[in-house]
């Protein structure tokens, strides 16, 4: 036996008695694999222009895993972006941020009304999420250091002072501050909740997620007693490794269907303003109709998959 063989024998012997939890590993791998397939499928459909904006988002969010949850059972976390930052990568776009949100939602639900914007060192998106208990606005914002750009940090959230309320240091060194607040501090609509997590990772990237118990942040009737996700769920969500500051061009293209990002607002007056308002109203109505149709289609698909009795409207929408 030469040295190579002897060393090989040592390695084999050292690990031969390790017994991994095979069943859990396999179940988790399948769950993650299904998720990977969905992501690829979503990208292919989007670039093929098969589905209209919003509907695809809904479908992606509604396709369940075998166990009804969104991903695997890894005890160590969730998949990271496999590609390190490198030449050819693009800054995270509002649409890709929304796509990431769909892929990492703590629980499945319908998602509509996407919007978002980006600036040097910051990107954000907002959408309405409905898990069947009422629409809720979700806002996600990422801020990250960019050479030459001034950071737009909303309030001091680092470091967590010892014992500071709602602020925790996670095992990976990220600092997270959570709060259950209200949309209006002056007492208007005291039941209008705003729950938030601000998380700063060790690499200086800040991920903030806000959620409301109304389909829009302002001016909408309260639709549910509380926002949909717990603060723990928000914290876990904000700490997902899929929140990356750069993305591949393929990922940027795959997400571009979700919405047009907000650009500089033109100043309108007179007839132009009236026309613009009228157009926005029509578009809003169309979005609501599309969301309603998408929701019904998803319900029909779910009922069909479970061999349940189809609601009457299923015959009319297909």
């Amino acid at each position: 036996m030469n040295d190579d063989d002897r060393f090989g024998a040592v390695l084999h012997r050292a690990v031969s008695t390790l017994e991994p939890p095979t069943e859990r590993l396999v179940a988790g791998a399948i769950a993650r694999g299904r998720r990977r397939r969905r992501i690829v499928l979503a990208g292919e459909l989007a670039t093929g222009g098969v589905l209209v904006a919003g509907v695809l988002a809904l479908v992606v969010a509604l396709v369940p895993d075998a166990n009804g949850s969104r991903t695997g059972t890894s005890p160590a976390g969730k998949p990271a972006d496999p590609a390190p930052a490198a030449a050819g990568r693009l800054p995270m776009s509002p649409q890709a941020l929304a796509q990431t949100a769909l892929e990492t939602l703590p629980r499945r639900g319908a998602t509509t009304n996407f919007e978002g914007s980006a600036d040097a060192g910051s990107v954000s998106t907002a959408f309405t999420y409905d898990d069947g208990h009422g629409g809720a606005q979700i806002v996600i914002a990422m801020q990250y250091p960019v050479p030459g750009a001034s950071p737009k940090v909303h309030g001091p959230i680092l470091p967590c002072a010892r014992g500071s309320e709602g602020c925790i240091v996670l095992s990976d060194g990220a600092h997270a501050r959570t709060a259950r607040g209200h949309e209006y501090d002056d007492g208007r609509q005291p039941n209008a909740a705003e729950w938030v997590v601000d998380l700063v990772r060790r690499d200086g990237v800040q991920v903030s997620i806000l959620e409301y118990n109304a389909p829009r942040q302002k001016g909408a009737a309260i639709s549910r007693p509380a926002p949909p996700f717990t603060l723990d769920e928000l914290t876990t969500w904000a700490n997902d490794d899929l929140w990356q500051t750069t993305i591949t061009s393929q990922r940027a293209k795959a997400a571009v269907h979700l919405f047009e990002p907000a650009g500089p607002k033109a100043q309108l007056s007179g007839l132009a303003a009236t026309k613009s308002a009228s157009r926005l109203e029509r578009e809003a109505t169309d979005r609501l109709k599309a969301a309603d149709l998408a929701r019904k289609r998803a319900s029909c698909a779910a009922a069909a998959a479970q061999h349940a009795t189809l609601p009457k409207y299923c015959a009319q929408i297909n």
């Binding site: 190579d4 017994e19 991994p20 399948i30 160590a76 998949p79 990271a80 095992s171």
Partner: protein, 169 residues
């Protein structure tokens, strides 16, 4: 639907059979039980995604080892986002001489660069040839030979020559 179920059953069988060897490689690579589980799941999930075209791959189990090693090298390991209380500690194998051996080996491997660790695990645990490892990692055979010799020398320095005698004890 049936083909999906059949595919899942076949994949489950494949994954169950190669999980132990993948996990042992992952454990030597990462030196951490949970990180090893994570790496194995990651590699297997990638296998799952391509499972429909798996017939084009000669040896899926060997390919899974390659995927695992590449993932180890390319993926910035994800951050654990919180302590997870567990009712039972993972079984890291029985205590005894082999347990000491494991601890010493993992500590010594942790001192090596990640690429050297991958070479050691592929060469000596997965029993790959130099040429196969070179293909797996996208290097030349001569580079793998040099890397392998250098890594072994470092391990010997860290563990002592006596360690190799354990193989024959």
């Amino acid at each position: 639907m049936n083909s999906t179920r059949d595919g899942d059953a076949a994949f489950r069988e494949f994954a169950s059979s190669c999980s132990p060897s993948l996990f042992r490689s992952a454990w030597l690579l990462t030196g951490d039980w949970h990180a090893a589980e994570d790496l194995v799941q990651d590699a297997l999930s990638r296998m799952y995604r391509i499972w429909g075209g798996i017939s084009r791959i000669d040896n899926p189990a060997a390919y899974a080892q390659t995927v695992l090693a590449r993932q180890f090298l390319t993926v910035r390991r994800r951050r654990s986002f919180g302590e997870r209380p567990s009712a039972e500690l993972p079984d890291a194998g029985a205590a005894g001489p082999d347990s000491d051996l494991r601890v010493s080996l993992v500590a010594a491997l942790a001192e090596l660069p990640k690429r050297d660790r991958a070479v050691i695990v592929l060469r000596y645990l997965a029993d790959r040839s130099v040429e196969q490892v070179a293909l797996d990692l996208g290097r030349t055979p001569s580079a793998i030979k040099v890397q392998s010799m250098r890594a072994l020398a470092k391990l010997r320095a860290a563990l002592g020559e006596d360690l190799l005698d354990l193989a024959q004890s």
